[in-house]
Subunit: 320 residues, 2 copies
């Protein structure tokens, strides 16, 4: 492949694992991560960007590998004091993590874009990969449930994903502009390949795909586009993906993932546990490869990244 | 004295010590503290109110008695993370302390006044005394120095009070309204007595006295008004009071303090170390009493508060 970049579409935890594997197995300046911002929200007057922060903490080695979010070695004195003052304490903000939220909110109130702030944070944390918000305009993922519409963090954190999902709404999406840096990369032919991370298709990847014009860019993109399935053996590794699929009446297997991305996808990487579905995915007109996709150790992450790179290499040159 | 309240004009540390002594030696619901807000400032997008917070932390037993500001048992992980992100870290904000700043900023952005927030914080922290900001309008104390004008926290914290002072400016003062709750207390005859705390006369008490109309209220007030001298033996117990007096060419003794408040004062409580100045203060037409005014222990604070109460009792009924 030429000197261009690889673009990873990513949500939080699962995407960050693959992002770390990719950053460690390629020239990391050539990795561009287009991050979901649909989970972003204002809480206590602070702008919280869960997926971007999971990405930057993971890429800089600051993340807590056990808890799966936030920073390792975090302390919680802010939360304790906030609770004592009667503040809303359903959303946990660690003491060190707060620095990022306070600084970002402050810079954005002074006129900086989310892209500006994210670039500065990445520089400070020594991250060589580029992390780009999908848009600098606010887009808020809302979950339609049998208990009514709720913003994503209310559904995810406060309600612990308990309400039965009936659909999703992305507030602000119609007016949002794609991050111009991503637009430029495609316009200037600098994108070699696109990877859809093993993130939740409804609340992590769909918000990105739904930014006006972006899905059309992917459909028209000549290079390889692959996805890594977030569904392994009929289960989601983490989070509410499988529960959402069940509630929406969608079969919880890799064919459903392939189907969702079929209009722009060239290939899908599935777990070895799902190898029996290789022929069915093939019948959908997609290349398919099976490997061990569960990323626990750093070695796992690097291994999945390498398989992705091989897969894209093999697809490269074949018309999409 | 009747069933009214005692009003304490207070800055931060010194005033908070006397406030605690008074709250512990009288019916604390009858103590109203009019707090300086001239030191308040916006930092990292957060509204910081140093004197009010020192008062509420001291009155609720949360303050750090050794450091003299902030909370006891505080942790500093926010500051460390902020520094690593390149944020401004010259003003220390503890992890637990941050809860108050974040909550206050959030509530004020939603339309609450500083009075509303302070009342809520006091309730939450179990404080029975009333802490009232001198005004709900922003007034910013600026220090004129030989290096130019600087806002108070820049002078006090960043520059460690090093620049030579030439004067003070209280930005916003002319447009600010006195806290209506204080106005009402005077209008309705509910104030029995007024105490000026041993706080810095220039940057803690003057901002309060300068709120339009307040000095006139004190001049017309019939009950006893006393001050506790912040100067002991020609020195300030804490902070830059003595340095400021020297730089402004004002003799650093209790007569200078008496002189500043003379137009509304009935009496001044000075330290036993300054007892030789009793006759000179008497010549100024002021009642004067000397005692041990340095407040280290809780017992010290209670003792000074009791002397104040006796002094006011004795002055009560005599025309001011």
């Amino acid at each position: 492949m030429s000197d261009g970049v690889t673009l990873l579409l990513s949500g939080g935890v699962g995407g960050a694992k693959l992002a770390l594997g990719m950053a460690r197995t390629m020239q990391s300046e050539k990795l561009v991560i287009l991050a979901n911002t649909g989970d972003d929200f204002d809480h206590l007057g602070l702008r919280i960007c869960p997926d971007i922060d999971t990405l930057t903490y993971t890429l800089s080695g600051l993340s807590d590998p056990v808890r799966g979010w936030g920073r390792e070695g975090e302390t919680w004195n802010f939360m304790r004091a906030l609770g004592a003052l009667g503040g809303e304490d359903w959303f946990n903000l660690g003491d060190a993590d707060l620095a990022l939220h306070v600084l970002r909110t402050h810079l954005m109130r002074q006129g900086a874009s989310l892209s500006d702030v994210t670039r500065e944070v990445c520089e400070r944390l020594g991250i060589l990969a580029r992390v780009l918000p999908m848009s600098d305009d606010p887009i808020a993922t809302c979950v339609e449930t049998e208990q009514g519409r709720m913003d994503f963090q209310t559904y995810f954190v406060r309600e612990q994903c308990a309400p039965k999902v009936t659909g999703f709404v992305f507030e602000g999406q119609a007016r949002a502009r794609l991050n111009p840096a991503v637009q430029d990369l495609f316009t200037q032919g600098e994108v070699n390949a696109v990877v859809v991370a093993p993130s939740n298709p409804y609340v992590s990847i769909d918000p990105i795909l739904g930014v006006p014009g972006f899905r059309e860019i992917l459909r028209g993109f000549e290079g390889p586009v692959i996805a890594v399935s977030p569904i392994v053996g009929g289960q989601a590794i983490k989070g509410p993906t499988a529960k959402m699929m069940a509630e929406l009446g969608v079969p919880c297997d890799v064919t459903s993932i392939a189907e969702r991305y079929r209009d722009f996808l060239d290939g899908i990487l599935i777990d070895q546990l799902d190898a029996d579905l290789l022929p069915r995915v093939g019948e959908m007109g997609l290349a398919c490869r099976a490997t061990q996709t569960v990323m626990t150790s750093v070695e796992d992450k690097e291994a999945v990244a390498r398989v992705c790179q091989d897969f894209m290499q093999d697809l490269s040159g074949t018309p999409s």
